[in-house]
């Protein structure tokens, strides 16, 4: 009986081992991209048109870059220009290819205590939150969103010593977990539009500010250098890249909506 069960078990193990025939590649993407639901739309189309099985690793930009540097993924799709340039300068990717952009939004308590609703710029909205010391939850995880937020604080040349935990909370977590935290604390938070629209636990939070071009968020595709990491699936990664900037993908991205709102603007060339 025991041997019989063991045999079945190992048969099961073998059966469930991944098939080697199909082309596979690993792509590290940011949570904001994945949370938008766009990947659900694109992956089957990629499989249909190119035959590639894309294994998505959903992480922050910081970790995505790290995975690329270690050669643990074949390409990355991220949104942090400065970090991308450093990545290329260090030789881990030959170039970056712009695919699309979306934008960040400022979300906060229904009553909008800092009155950012009629701010004239993103910088002004941030300044009002800082002046009123209204509770604000930050990703705090070195992700693209976090880096963007830091850049915005820096642009108003605020005194960093006044970022005390009584109002400024660094969650050290992904977008979803950070939104959950903000929802529970009824605090302001900066999110990409897709994550916010898809987020199911909004509580009393409302979108109060968006639209400043400075909040635009460019996504770029970086194939990991196969000079640096010879085992990387360079050819497959290039195949996917060409598909992403092609007309099929660009149309899919441009026409993707949640609750009737367009999320991404395709700009791949």
């Amino acid at each position: 009986m025991k041997y019989f069960l063991l045999t079945i078990w190992f048969g099961f193990l073998l059966h469930s081992a991944p098939l080697a025939q199909a082309e596979e590649m690993r792509l590290a993407v940011t949570t904001s991209f994945h949370n938008s639901g766009l990947s659900k739309l694109l992956l089957p189309k990629i499989k249909r048109d190119t035959g590639i099985d894309v294994h998505l690793l959903v992480v922050g930009t910081g970790q995505a870059l790290k995975l690329g540097r270690a050669g643990d993924v074949d390409a990355i799709l991220v949104h942090s220009r400065l970090a991308e340039d450093a990545f290329i300068a260090d030789g881990f990717a030959p170039y970056r290819r712009e695919i699309m952009y979306n934008d960040f939004v400022l979300v906060g308590p229904e009553t909008d205590p800092a009155n950012i609703q009629n701010a004239t710029s993103a910088a002004q909205a941030f300044e009002r939150i800082w002046k009123t010391k209204s509770p604000f939850v930050s990703r705090g995880d070195n992700s693209g969103t976090h880096l963007k937020e830091m850049a915005l604080w820096a642009s108003m040349s605020s005194d960093t010593s006044s970022f005390t935990p009584d109002w400024y909370r660094a969650a050290g977590a992904g977008m979803g977990a950070t939104l959950n935290t903000a929802s529970a604390m009824n605090a302001y938070v900066m999110s990409d539009r897709a994550s916010w629209l898809k987020f199911a636990n909004k509580g009393a939070l409302k979108l109060h500010y968006s639209g400043d071009p400075v909040l635009f968020n460019q996504y770029a595709y970086l194939p990991v250098s196969d000079d640096k990491h010879p085992h990387v699936q360079g050819a497959v990664a290039r195949k996917l890249e060409n598909w992403l900037v092609g007309s099929v993908a660009q149309n899919l991205i441009g026409n993707y909506t949640i609750n009737g709102q367009h999320l991404f603007t395709p700009n791949g060339q």
Binding site: L13, S16, P18, L56, A70, G176, H229, H231
Partner: protein
Amino acid sequence: MNDLWRGLSEAVRLIVSLDAALIEIVLRSLQVTVSAVLIASLIGLPLGALIAVNRFRFRRATIALLNALMGLPPVVVGLIVYILLSRSGPFGVLGLLFTPTAMIIAQVIIITPLIASIAHQAIRDLWAEYHDLLISLNTTKRQRMATLIWDSRRSLLTASLAGFGRAIGEVGAIMIVGGNIDHVTRVLTTAIALETGKGDFGLALGLGFILIALAIVINLTIHTISQTERGGRW
């Protein structure tokens, strides 16, 4: 409270509709965890017997270390396994990162000390009972260990089930080394973390209830099987 009800109804809906995605991740959870428990038992049970039966120089230190390792933080294990299996790490050429095998390795490291430690206690007690008899019967060390393992198999089953309990509910390590890739390394716990991240507490809780139910069913099944055995010819 509302979320709890939504979670329960979500769990019922998923089970009743035999949701294909759910079945896939449940099977993968079982595949990873049962494999890890089998391997960890193959290492941990003889290790526990070895420590119980043999006197050697660092025996006390080994026991203390084993007990300390029981509380090993899974995230740290995950990180270490990740670094070892990364393409830039020493075992990178094996290409194991982000595969179920990597998840099994991490879980084996997490639960082997637990299984070995519980096994050691059970076998030590039985050894106290059997000591004179086995010495008198002129048994070799191997025979003693084999006898003690076989005769304390019921307690050892509990040790393995404790390992199973810890492994099936573990998320920190397998998230890091598995990567939570859909259709490849997504299991119940990482799916729960993902849905929580999306703020979909209903689905996350539903999966959570299914995880708990799974653990209970497995435990009851194993206990029932070993109970039937006892009624028969043991």
